[in-house]
């Protein structure tokens, strides 16, 4: 049943897009499908703030999901083995760190955004547009890498809690796996910082 809905939905969307594209192509209106116009008409503020929101929103989704997966296992395992309660909070802290990365980037990005006059020089306008795209890209980078890092830490943390409940010597070994899972979120933050490092908006943006 699920497959039927999925395949029929996808084929409807694809055929509509193909038909619309063919219409424009065959009626010699191909010039009206203009990506450059789209990029020029949209405001860099839109791109910048979408990036900003993706950074924090996706990071928080990843952290929340990870905490839910780990937390329920800690609760369940802690009934018969109460000693795991405090040690396994470390898994929760790893998940939380992912949300902190997201908020750091979001604050950095929202501080970059400034007003610029619409009658400024071309290179000022160009620099502002570039900054908008950079912030969008950085937001997606940080958001998605933190989302998956949070998920990974959550699933591993759940296994760590249950393994610790069964055999206390296993916890430290599984913690190493969690550290690696957490590191990928850090990679996303590093790349994101690099992406926004020379993004400048405002009147003085064009001056190098």
């Amino acid at each position: 049943m699920g497959y039927l809905a999925y395949y029929s939905g996808t084929s409807v969307v694809l055929s509509v897009l193909t038909l619309v594209g063919l219409y424009y192509l065959l009626t010699d209106q191909g010039y009206r499908v203009d990506f450059g116009w789209f990029l020029e008409e949209t405001s860099p503020y839109m791109w910048a703030y979408i990036g900003c929101s993706m950074a924090i929103a996706l990071s928080v989704i990843g952290a929340a999901w990870g905490i839910l997966v780990t937390g329920t296992s800690i609760l369940g395992g802690g009934v018969q083995a109460p000693r795991i309660k405090t040690k396994n909070l470390v898994s929760i802290i790893f998940c939380e760190a992912v949300a902190i990365y997201g908020i750091i980037l979001a604050i950095v990005m929202s501080n970059i955004v400034q007003k610029y006059p619409s009658d400024a020089d071309d290179d000022v306008i160009a620099a502002n547009y570039a900054a908008g795209y950079k912030l969008f890209g950085a937001g997606l980078t940080v958001g998605f890498s933190n989302l998956f890092s949070g998920l990974a830490v959550g699933v591993v943390g759940s296994g760590a809690a249950l393994a610790d409940a069964a055999n206390p010597r296993l916890f430290v070994k599984i913690l190493i796996v969690e550290i690696f899972a957490s590191a990928i979120g850090l990679f996303g933050v590093i790349v994101g910082i690099l992406q926004v490092s020379n993004a400048k908006m405002g009147e003085a943006a064009g001056a190098n």
Binding site: T72, S73, L75, G76, G77, Q80, L162, A166
Partner: protein, 348 residues
């Protein structure tokens, strides 16, 4: 993606059941139990395990049947706790586990009523996991059709009775046929449910249930030698969700003695090993013991995966095996007959 969504509804219960599983007796505990001289010693040794003081309020001298009842009671309390906390689809899964006990209870009540036992005495012998509301009303019926219409149509087992209300009346032979027909319908239904759930649940449960189906087929065949059960009737009782379906079951339906059954098992690698190691000579394990061992192995493997429902089924089966082990040891100790005391089946 089961690992991401399983814990939303079932994370706490999986953690809980794994905690219970860690409390299952290990080899060291069994070594201690085997060395007991009296049942009081046994009670003392059980106090240091997960069972703690479950026998504390029992008057001495201790009976083996009391120990049996209390062991079952502890497992039932744990199961009911989990069932009360479960939501769909885990709650349906846990209900499926109780249906096999319900079938046993119904058959027990019908047989008891046929032998004119009082209903209250029979109710105390029923397994608590399989209790349902209309248990007291079973004695009013004298044919399966009446039984169905009066009592069973409101129970969750109603769809399983379609195949057997055509039986004419309830006598000793027909009761066993009813039991096996019900069980066949139940296990095929459970198998379909697990298959539809998919993922790791299907992996673990379908293997466990197909082994159970095949084991029933072998046991029905072996037990039917020398009785009046015709081969056609016997073939109708085999559950079809196992590895033996369809060729093995057809061959089993034609079998006349134990050697032919063993010949059928030769075609299936796992069952061949089980039949090879078994026999009725002293020092060899019986076929039932080999089946139990294989089941324990499958159930222990079920705990190796996370985020599936099979752990609950595996926990119930392993606790049952633990009960059987402790009662075996208790009987050997009580009767001071220690030659076969080591024939329990170690779990961990």
């Amino acid at each position: 993606m089961e690992s991401l969504t399983f814990n939303i509804d079932n994370g706490y219960l999986e953690g809980l059941v794994r905690g219970f599983k860690c409390g299952i007796l290990k080899r060291d505990d069994y070594t201690n139990l085997v060395q007991c001289e009296t049942l009081e010693d046994l009670k003392l040794h059980l106090q240091s395990t997960d069972y703690s003081n479950f026998l504390a309020n029992e008057p001495s001298p201790l009976q083996v049947s009391t120990i049996d009842d209390k062991l079952k009671e502890k497992m039932v309390i744990e199961f009911q706790h989990m069932r009360n906390h479960a939501v769909e689809p885990l709650s349906t899964f846990l209900d499926y586990i109780t249906y096999s006990y319900m079938i046993d209870n119904i058959i027990l009540l019908i047989t008891g009523t046929l032998h004119q036992r009082s209903i209250s005495e029979l109710i105390t012998k029923c397994h608590p996991l399989g209790s349902f509301e209309q248990m007291e009303a079973i004695h009013v019926a004298s044919t399966p059709a009446e039984l169905y219409n009066a009592v069973l149509v409101d129970t969750p087992l109603a769809p399983y009775f379609i195949d057997c209300i055509s039986e004419q009346d309830l006598d000793e032979m027909n009761i066993e046929i009813i039991r096996n027909t019900l069980y066949k319908a139940y296990i095929e239904d459970f198998y379909k449910f697990c298959e539809e759930t998919g993922g790791a649940t299907a992996d673990v449960m379908c293997e466990a249930l197909s082994f159970e189906a095949d084991r029933r087929a072998f046991i029905i065949t072996i037990n039917s030698f020398g009785t009046e059960l015709t081969k056609d009737d016997r073939a109708k009782l085999y559950p079809r969700c196992g590895r033996l379906h369809p060729d093995g079951l057809a061959a089993l339906a034609r079998a006349d003695d134990y050697e032919q059954v063993r010949a059928v098992s030769e075609y299936y690698a796992e069952y061949k090993l089980l039949f090879e190691g078994s026999g009725t000579n002293p020092g060899e394990k019986t076929l039932e013991d080999k089946f139990f061992e294989y089941e324990v192995k499958l159930m222990v493997n079920g705990f190796m995966q996370q985020f599936h429902y099979g752990v609950f089924y595996a926990y119930v089966k392993l606790k049952e095996q633990e009960c059987r082990n402790i009662i075996w040891i208790a009987e050997c100790v009580a009767q001071q007959h220690r030659t076969k005391i080591d024939s329990y089946i170690p779990i961990f």
